[in-house]
């Protein structure tokens, strides 16, 4: 019995994987709902396939991190492995925090994260990247959908202050005056609101926090961190876990990358930004907001800063840009060709195009050009 403790620790590590894996499994039966996936040009000997130039990439490449990227990764991995069958790429979708930890322990070739590396994480990465450091390569953007499940309400408009109050348990009921005021003519039921957030460190949480902090200063006074800051509500693990709960529970609201909403047909909230009409969460609308992104990093580090307070018509303000994190110098020799080949493919026109059907927004061209240059210089 006491000896079980010893196995307990080891099981814990495995368990962490198992839980996230299990939740992902249970939450997405098949998210192959994007029409573009099936038509993605596989290993046809056309010019398109040469985009996935394999070079001398082979062997196994492990990567892990952001679950907001998972659906994009699935499509990318499919497209890439069809062109380069010599590489076995395995992206473990957990959370941005876990991806960065794994990267800084040297267990993965690259990490996916919805937030750029923090200064202390960059310092840690220097141990792994011999002579270099971890850099942020913005690979794909997308709207963070505010998904809700409310029987009998198929269209819902909210604004930033109301959203902030819902997520910090100030507004507890669906027929609250603030929600009614934004939704004239909608019959809102008298039901308690069940707000779901992520139980683990999440880049999606941090991006939502940045948005609320920028647009609802009075109601959202928390630091934008990966850990959920507000009181109340319920937690679930991973984007898939939150989406599964929202899907299941009547009267719930949660936030996740748009592809989870499309995959499970969860209704999403339209955001009243002050534009002429409330803005829906779609890839095009997110692209409009991401187009205004500025590069905040230096050199090959392409961390972006986003403008959350946009009032432009049709610009959906709650967006995240999700990064791939790799070493600029000192990548492991065994995985470097595969990392380069794969990232080249994801940053290519084809890699960016594949995603439009899956609820993602491509990175603006000028930034994408810089990303490609940075990938080419990885060593």
């Amino acid at each position: 019995m006491k000896l079980l403790r010893k196995n307990g620790l080891r099981a814990t590590a495995l368990g962490a994987l198992a839980v996230s894996g299990a939740l992902v499994l249970t939450a997405c039966g098949s998210d192959d709902n994007s029409g573009s996936a099936s038509s993605s040009p596989s290993a046809k000997t056309t010019a398109a396939a040469s985009n996935a130039a394999c070079g001398d990439a082979k062997g196994q490449l492990l990567a892990s991190g952001s679950s907001a990227q998972k659906n994009a990764m699935d499509l990318w991995v499919k497209g890439f492995m069809a062109a380069c069958p010599d590489v076995q790429l395995n992206y473990q979708s957990s959370s941005s925090g876990e991806g960065i930890v794994a990267f800084n322990q040297g267990t993965v070739g690259f990490a996916g994260s919805d937030s750029p590396l923090k200064p202390e994480e960059v310092t840690d990465s220097k141990k792994i990247c011999a002579g270099g450091q971890g850099i942020n390569l913005p690979m794909v953007g997308g709207p963070i959908a505010i998904g809700y499940h409310l029987e009998g309400v198929d269209s819902l408009v909210l604004d930033a202050p109301t959203l902030a109050k819902i997520f910090n348990s100030k507004i507890k009921n669906w027929d609250d005056a603030a929600i009614k005021a934004l939704n004239p003519g909608v019959k809102l039921p008298n039901k308690p609101i069940q707000a779901f957030h992520r139980s683990e460190d999440s880049g999606t949480t941090q991006n939502l926090g940045k948005y609320l902090g920028a647009t609802a200063k009075a109601d959202w006074k928390y630091e934008a961190e990966k850990t959920w800051p507000a009181p109340g509500g319920q937690a679930a693990s991973g984007s898939a876990g939150v989406a599964a709960q929202v899907k299941q529970v009547d009267g719930s609201i949660g936030y996740f990358e748009l592809s989870y909403a499309t995959a499970q047909s969860i209704s999403t909230v339209k955001i009243d930004t002050g534009a002429s009409a409330p803005v829906e969460a779609t890839s095009e609308n997110a692209s409009k907001a991401i187009a205004a992104a500025k590069i905040a990093g230096t050199g090959n580090d392409l961390a972006l800063s986003l403008d959350y307070t946009t009032k432009a018509d049709g610009a959906y303000p709650i967006v995240l840009v999700t990064y791939e994190i790799a070493c600029d110098k000192g990548n492991k020799a065994a995985t470097l060709p595969a990392v380069k080949a794969f990232l080249n493919y994801t940053a290519s026109d084809e890699g960016q195009k594949v995603l439009s059907g899956a609820g993602y927004a491509p990175i603006p061209t000028e930034i994408n050009t810089k990303v490609r240059a940075a990938i080419a210089s990885l060593s």
Partner: protein, 331 residues
């Protein structure tokens, strides 16, 4: 009377030369006693090593903890300054285990009595086997089943409890929420510890001396009176030790709890409110993202669980030691 002849008496065996005076000098005996002694010592060494490792890492973490390790309702070891405390985890671990025990032990004793004294022989063996099968289900499966099946179905029970028993404080639901709460965790743990408690209790009840039972029957006792007068008193300490085994499982259950619970860092005795946490659940949830120091902090919480489990086992031993007449399966 036939006279006995001295020829019948076997000649005395030659005296064995034993250098130590204990061993017979046969190699097999030496090897076996060495092996068993070695295993015993090895176990102690392993335990001491685990305790030492946990303590060392825990001290590293606790010395830098800006909060009070025992009373802080927070877990942010990676923040600057690091603040973490185990109050929520300690309460959550104990509360969920108590719920599990309250539900599981009476049911397990009932099942064990049914199998050992009531069920027709043909039915008893398959039934016992069936209950033991519950132990073969991996805990992640319990977790997924709990999250996808049990939780939605317990919503109704929650509403009912909240409606009629809110005055107990325990069953007052102050926050809306699906049943991803301590009560659900307790129910799930109860199902998970049922087989171990049942099978040990069953073995104990089967060991009741036939004499006692037959004596009671001869005095005209009904079957229930037999059980009350001879089986239960005889099996009491066995049932207690079985329960403690189950409690040990409940305290350390990880994945099933992590899959079902909606964790937060607030201590609340409103069992129907989502939230809370247990040691093991917190470790599994935070380990993946924890940096070196965060892992030390988690190990510190693991040390507390280790000590808690030792205390529980120690208490069980004391209870059993006080009742010497019981022998057998006090594993």
């Amino acid at each position: 009377m036939a006279s006995t002849t001295p020829i019948d008496v076997p000649p005395p065996a030659p005296p064995v030369k034993s250098p130590s005076g204990t061993s017979t000098g046969r190699a097999g005996d030496k090897i076996f006693s060495g092996l068993s002694k070695g295993s015993g010592i090895l176990l102690l060494v392993v335990m001491a090593a685990i305790a030492g490792f946990l303590t060392y890492r825990a001290v590293l973490a606790i010395s830098k903890d800006e909060g009070n390790f025992f009373t802080t309702f927070e877990w942010t070891p990676s923040a600057n300054p690091p603040v973490f405390g185990i109050a929520v985890l300690l309460v959550g671990t104990i509360v969920s285990s108590i719920i599990a025990m309250v539900i599981a032990v009476p049911i397990a004793v009932g099942i064990a009595l049914f199998i050992s004294h009531y069920a027709p022989r043909k039915l008893a063996a398959p039934l016992a086997y069936l209950v033991d099968l519950l132990a073969a289900v991996p805990s992640i499966i319990y977790g997924i089943w709990g999250a996808l099946f049990l939780v939605p179905y317990l919503d109704g029970l929650n509403l009912w409890l909240d409606h009629y028993f809110a005055w107990t404080y325990l069953f007052d639901q102050t926050q809306p929420g699906v049943a991803r709460n301590m009560l659900t965790v307790g129910i799930l743990l109860a199902i998970m510890i049922l087989p171990i408690v049942t099978s040990v209790s069953r073995e104990v009840f089967l060991q009741v001396p036939r004499m006692n039972e037959e004596a009671a029957l001869a005095l005209g006792a009904t079957r229930w009176e037999v059980i009350r007068l001879s089986v239960l008193p005889f099996g009491r300490s066995g049932v207690i030790s079985a329960s403690m085994l189950g409690l040990g499982r409940a305290l350390g259950e990880t994945i099933a709890v992590a899959t079902v619970l909606s964790p937060n860092f607030l201590v609340s005795l409103h069992l129907l409110d989502p939230g809370g946490g247990t040691f093991a659940q917190n470790i599994v949830a935070k380990f993946g993202e924890a940096n070196e120091f965060g892992r030390d902090a988690l190990i510190a919480s693991g040390l507390v669980l280790f000590i808690l489990t030792l205390l529980v086992n120690g208490a069980a031993r004391l209870i059993i030691a006080r009742r010497k007449e019981y022998s057998g399966a006090n594993a």
